[in-house]
Structures are given as C-alpha cells and as structure tokens.
C-alpha cells in the first residue's frame, strides 16, 4: 500500500497518509468543516451529520469525521447539497432544543444563515431540569443527543455505565436505569460527562447556582446537606442493589 493518498478537497490538491479521515485531511489543508458530535476523546459515531461533504461518485453525502480518504477522491465541503443539509439540520435543531448555552452551534447557525424560526408550531423537547445530586444538573431540554456523555461514561473513558437512552427516535433521552436519581445509579461523579457536554445540558451545580445569582457562601450552605446525605447513603448497607 502506498504511504500517501492524493485527493482534491475544494479544488485543492492534498496528500495525506492512508487511513486519514476527510475531516482531518481538510483541517490539515486549512479547510474548516463544522462538527457537532465529533470530539477527539470519543469514538466518532457520525450522527450529527453536520460534517457531511459531497464526494464525486457517491450517491449520498459522506460524514467527513469517519469517511476515510481514498486515492483520487474529489471532495466538496461547501456544495449546494452540503449547505442545504447543514442549514436544515441546524434549523431543525433550533426548533427542537434550547441552544442558549451552545455558543458554537449559535455561531454555525449564523454562518449558515439558518433561520431559527424556520419550523413554526414544531414540538420541541421539553424537560424539567433534573436536580438530583450535589455535583451536576441535567437539563435535557438543552440536550442535542450527541452521545458524548453516554460514551465517556462507558467504554470511551470511565466504564461506569450509569447512563444510556430511554425511548427512541425524536423522543430519545439520556437516562439512568429506570430513570432512578443519579445517586442511586452506578454514577461515580467523575464529571467526565459534564466536561464533554457541548450545550450546557450537563452543568456543574456550582456554575448553575452562580448563574442563578447565588453567592459562593450560599452555594456552600445549599449543597452541604446534599453532600452529607450522599455520604450517608453510600455508607449505609444497601438492601436493594438496583
């Protein structure tokens, strides 16, 4: 096998090692392709489809985060088909999720001239913030289902498996086992899920309380009893392992 692959991205001749993704090849050439679900530390699932590109000879658009380069490939990262898909995905996202804490996606929306009001009367994902532990808050109205939290909780980092999904399709939501409160789950409060969340759906409790205007002293008071309860629960002999 040859040790370089030659391809053309947006008219630019590029040479990269075999096994490189189109996304990585483009970035190396200074061509920026937007991504949402992609994260260096997690397995790419190619599910947001924002990074799709048009490849000559391919029936459908390809997700550049996982599609590998091949010899002679001709890629367009900003064709009409590509921009229509990106714009429509962003418009649907805006009509579905509260993106107020997702500045990166807000920038994309502006860049692709996506109309936030494109889908009137759309059912958005409504959910009350879940405040069930002293460490972080879960507000699934802000969740874009990028899967990063589930992945870092599982094989991508922690092997804790506290969270997975409930329901399916549009109604999918991140959930613990039978929706039990986080302290009753297998969660070890490592915080990795919060760290990879791109939209503020998972937020450190302290940050959330600060945003609500609480002072640091008030926050210490508010969370002290929670921390104590948590300790007690862990120490107490458990008769229900679920």
């Amino acid at each position: 096998m040859s040790d370089t692959i030659n391809l053309i991205i947006d008219g630019k001749q590029i040479s990269v090692p075999p096994g490189t993704t189109i996304l990585a090849a483009a970035r190396e050439a200074g061509i920026e392709i937007p991504t949402i679900c992609f994260h260096e530390a997690t397995t790419s699932n190619a599910l947001c489809r924002i990074c799709v590109v048009e490849v000559e000879g391919s029936r459908v658009l390809l997700p550049s985060c996982v599609a590998h380069v091949s010899e002679g490939m001709k890629v367009q990262t900003q064709s009409e088909r590509v921009t229509r898909s990106r714009r429509t995905i962003l418009e649907m996202l805006e009509s579905t999720v509260d993106l107020s804490d997702a500045p990166e996606i807000q920038t994309m929306i502006a860049e692709y001239k996506a109309d936030g009001e494109r889908f009137p009367q759309a059912k958005s994902r409504v959910s009350t913030p879940i405040d069930d532990n002293p460490m972080y808050l879960r507000d699934y109205a802000k969740c874009i289902l990028c899967w990063r939290c589930v992945q870092v909780c599982a094989e991508d980092a922690q092997y804790t498996y506290a969270i997975n999904f409930s329901s399916r399709g549009y109604d999918t939501q991140i959930s613990t086992f039978y929706e039990v409160p986080m302290p009753e789950s297998t969660c070890v409060f490592c915080g990795q899920c919060v760290a990879v969340c791109p939209t503020g759906a998972l937020k450190p409790k302290r940050q959330w309380l600060l945003e609500l205007g609480r002072t640091p002293d008030e926050i210490m008071d508010l969370t002290r009893s929670e921390r104590r309860n948590r300790r007690r629960r862990v120490e107490a002999p458990s008769n229900d392992q679920a």
Partner: protein
Amino acid sequence: MTDFDLTPLQAVLGGYAPQGRTALLPALHAAQEIYGYLPEPVAAEIARGLNIPLAEVFGVIDFYSLFYREPVGKTIIHVCNDPACAMAGSESILTRLTQHVEILKENNHTEELVTIERAPCLGLCEHAPAMLVNGRPIGQANTRTWEEMVESDPRRPDTKVDGSIRLLTANCGVGYTLSLWQYIAGGGYVAYRKALAGTPAEVIDTVKLSGLVGRGGAAFPTGVKWEGTAKAPGTQKYVVCNADEAEPGTFKDRVLMEDDPHSILEGLMIAAYAVGASKGYVYIRGEYLRPYQMMKIAVQEAREARLLGENILGSGFNFDIEIRRGAGAYICGEETALFESIEGKRGFPRVKPPFPTTHGLFGQPTSINNVETLANVPLILRMGVEEYRKIGTEKSPGPKLFCLSGDVERPGLYEVPFGTTFRELLFDLAGGVHSGHHLQAALFGGAAGAFALDSHLDVRLSFEDLRAAGLPLGSGVITVFDETRDMRDICLRLAHFFADESCGKCYPCQMGTQRQVEIIQRIMDGQVLPGDWERLHDIGWTMTDASLCGLGQTAASAVMSAMKHWPHLFKSPEALAQ
C-alpha cells in the same frame, strides 16, 4: 414496589447465562412471558445474570416497542394502522374496541385487563383490516365479534397465494406448514446435498451465474456478497437470514416462513457452506410469533434429521441455526441494526464501511440475506443456472414475489417472472381495482417507496424497467389506491410510521421524520402554512442526502413522490393561485 418472585426468572436465566449479552432479547422475551411486563427488579436480575450494565439493559428495553416497562393488560391487542388496514377501516375498529373495553371496565368486568395499541404494519395486509391479539393474527377484524377476536381461538387467516408461476410458492397456500418429510418428498434438500458434494467456490459461482440479487430491497448481487464473506479473513463467520419483514405492505416472507420454512433453511445452509460459516441466525420480527414458531420447529426437524449439526451428510461440514425474535423495531431490518439487536443492543445502525462481509455480526465476516433471496437458492441449484435464467428477463432473472393489497379485488401474494407488466399483475392476476372503481395510484416499495400512476400500467416489473420509470421495486410491495382515497391521509400514515420507527441516532432522520409528520398533519387539517412546500423539500432532501442509514435516506421518498404527482394537495391556496 411489589415484591417479585424472581425464582422462575432465575431458572430461565441459568440457560441464557453462558451466552452473555447476545441472549438479552431472548431473556427479556422470556421474562415478559413470566411477569407480563419488565419491572425494575426483573431487569436488574437479567442484567446480573447476563453480566450487562443496568443502564444498557434499560436502554434496550425502552428501545423496542414490544417490551413494556409498565404493567399492561393480560390481553394485548395490536391494531394495524398503516395504509392497507386503514383503508379497510382500522380506525373504526380501534374506536369500537376502545369503547368495548371502557364498557367492560365500567361493569367491573376487568381492571386493566386489555391493552389496545396502534401498531405499524403487521404484515397481514392481504387480510386487512388486521390485528394481533396476544400475537395471534386476526384478519378481516371488521367482521368479527369481540368474543371471536379475543376470547376464542380463531384459525389463522388462510394464505392467499397465486401467480403465473409457482416455484418459490410451490408449497405455499396448501393450508398447512410443510414438514421436513413433506418438503423432502417434493425434492427438498436435494440442492443442499448437491452443494455439499461440490466445493464452496462452485456454489458461489453457480449463484453468481444465476444473476440472483437480493430481494429485500437493495438488489445487491448475492453471489458477490457470498464471495466477499468467503474471502474475508477470519475463522468464525456467520450467515444471517433477515426475516425482520416490516416494510408496510410486505408479507411475502411471512407466507414463506409459515408455509414452507425448510426452503429458507435450505437456502441458509447452502449459504453457510458457500461462505464457510458454522453458525447461522434467522432474525424474525417480533410481531411474527407464528412464523417464529414454524421456523423453530423446522430447525428442530432439521437437527433431528442431521441436516444441521456436525459432519453433515458425511461432508465434514458443521453448521447450526438459531432462530431469533425481534421485539418491535422496523429499523432492525437494516442489516447492521439487526446485528446489534442479535448482539443484545439497541437497534442502532452502524456506520458503513466497514461492510458486513468483513465486519458483520460480532464484528466477524457475515453474509446477510433476505428470506426470499435464500428461498431462491435451492431452486437455482435444483434447476441449474440455464433453466433458472429462462425465467424473467436477461437483466432480472428468476421469479419474484409481489405483495398486493389495498383497493384490489384479490389481495394476496403473487409469484410472477420478472418482466411481467404491472397491468398483467394487477388486472389479469389480482382481478384489478375494486369493482366500480379505478386506479388512482399504487405505492411501489412500501413506505420507503414511490407512487405509480395508471400511466405506469405497462411498465414491466424488472429492476431495469422500473429504474427507467423512476420507480423502486423495493421488497415487492404494491399497495393499490382507488380514486376515492385521500393521498394526504396515506402520506400522513407513512410519515407517522417513520417518525415512530426512527431510531433517533442521526439528526436528519431523528428530527426530520418528526418535522415531516408535523407539517403533513397541518396540511391534512387544512392549516397549511406558506413555506410548507419548501420546508418539506428541505427536510426530504436533507434526510435523503445526509441520513446515516437506509431508513432515513428513504423516509421522505413516498412523500416527495406524492408532492410531485399531486402538488395541489400540499400547497396553500395562495401558493396555488400563483
């Protein structure tokens, strides 16, 4: 929380434990048999028994529509809600059943004893309106009394099979399921013996020369798929029969499994020999309880006759088959989602490449074929390539099964050679449109298909002719609509189907199927908004171009086809005036 006696579950789990995670769906089915639903302690016990994280067991339970987290009635009624049954009056059946249950409750006859659910296509379209009562199929439900439907045990609906040739369906429609010995008496398993007498490469060559392509919808050359799997590096290889038939309007695989299960098993055995697989799976949709039972019996018969097992017929070839049941998810008909399901996971399709031929079930080289495709294999080996290729057209050789339903005089399964015209099939064989009515449209290829008009009547039903006419062959569905049908209602049902069945993995399909159904609903309600036409197009093209799997890529196909044929139905009065 009620205390659950976990002893009966533990007894069952012992048998599943050595398999680990892949036994999750079978274990959940077994648990639901015992407890009626899947409460938390039961799920926790299964997680422990199979060594699967709790949250992942929950994720699986909540993914599949036939698994229940909450208590349900002892009697569960699934009323089909898709076009063929809806046109035959399923909505009024739903109303009637719901009222009846209300009366029963008022009279204190029952407390939560009956659960009624709207179901996606149940694959009983030729018996519309159809429903399932605890998995038992009921046809012509509009003509049945409550007692007949729920309390007695009616016979299964008779198979309706006809056609201008009867090769794949030679043993179908006889009124019973063919046993192994009846199958052998008719020349069954001769092809398997023939295959075992030669080399795997010879079998692959024969199938390649026959021109057989997949009958599940994608039309991929079967021999090429087998060759890829055979040549892929790896010692453990698998063959899988995709019997997750759920495309609205399709019921061919159900008929084959119910009436002639051994023809499918023989095809799968030959496939296994060709690719070098020692283990095969048949994955049957959860709603097909009866075909599941028939296939299980057939496998048992084949094992007893030593057609499965070690050193089969003295050839040195070892092979066994496991029958698996889905649990209510159309997406599991997508090959990689089906693998995930067998592996005990949510039915999320995987990113391709890599393809199943090299990275399939359990990450191993796998050949996955549709039921009808496999049923063609013994036929090819028995007849020989030359005779087989005399059937059909040059580019589409062989027989093809078509599922006709809707406003057609004689709905049923029809076998014809490729190249038969739509007119011959609909009028000469199936008796045409209901008397006194004429053809408005026919949906080719199911929910993921496109509409044909009467101008298409003389199109020959072959891959090449249909492609030229811009119509999909799909899995062989033809749902007929007369001139009285409101095509917006049909589109609304198809849109609902996709919104219900989207797995939710990729954004275009997860949100697009929902936005699509919302817009069609308001069009149906006469509340169309300016810009809805463009919105539907943008959603449709985004799903088609950017979705991860075939479900999303075709979720707008029928709707966009309808918009092309009948734009006036989808446009606002203002837009039409322009």
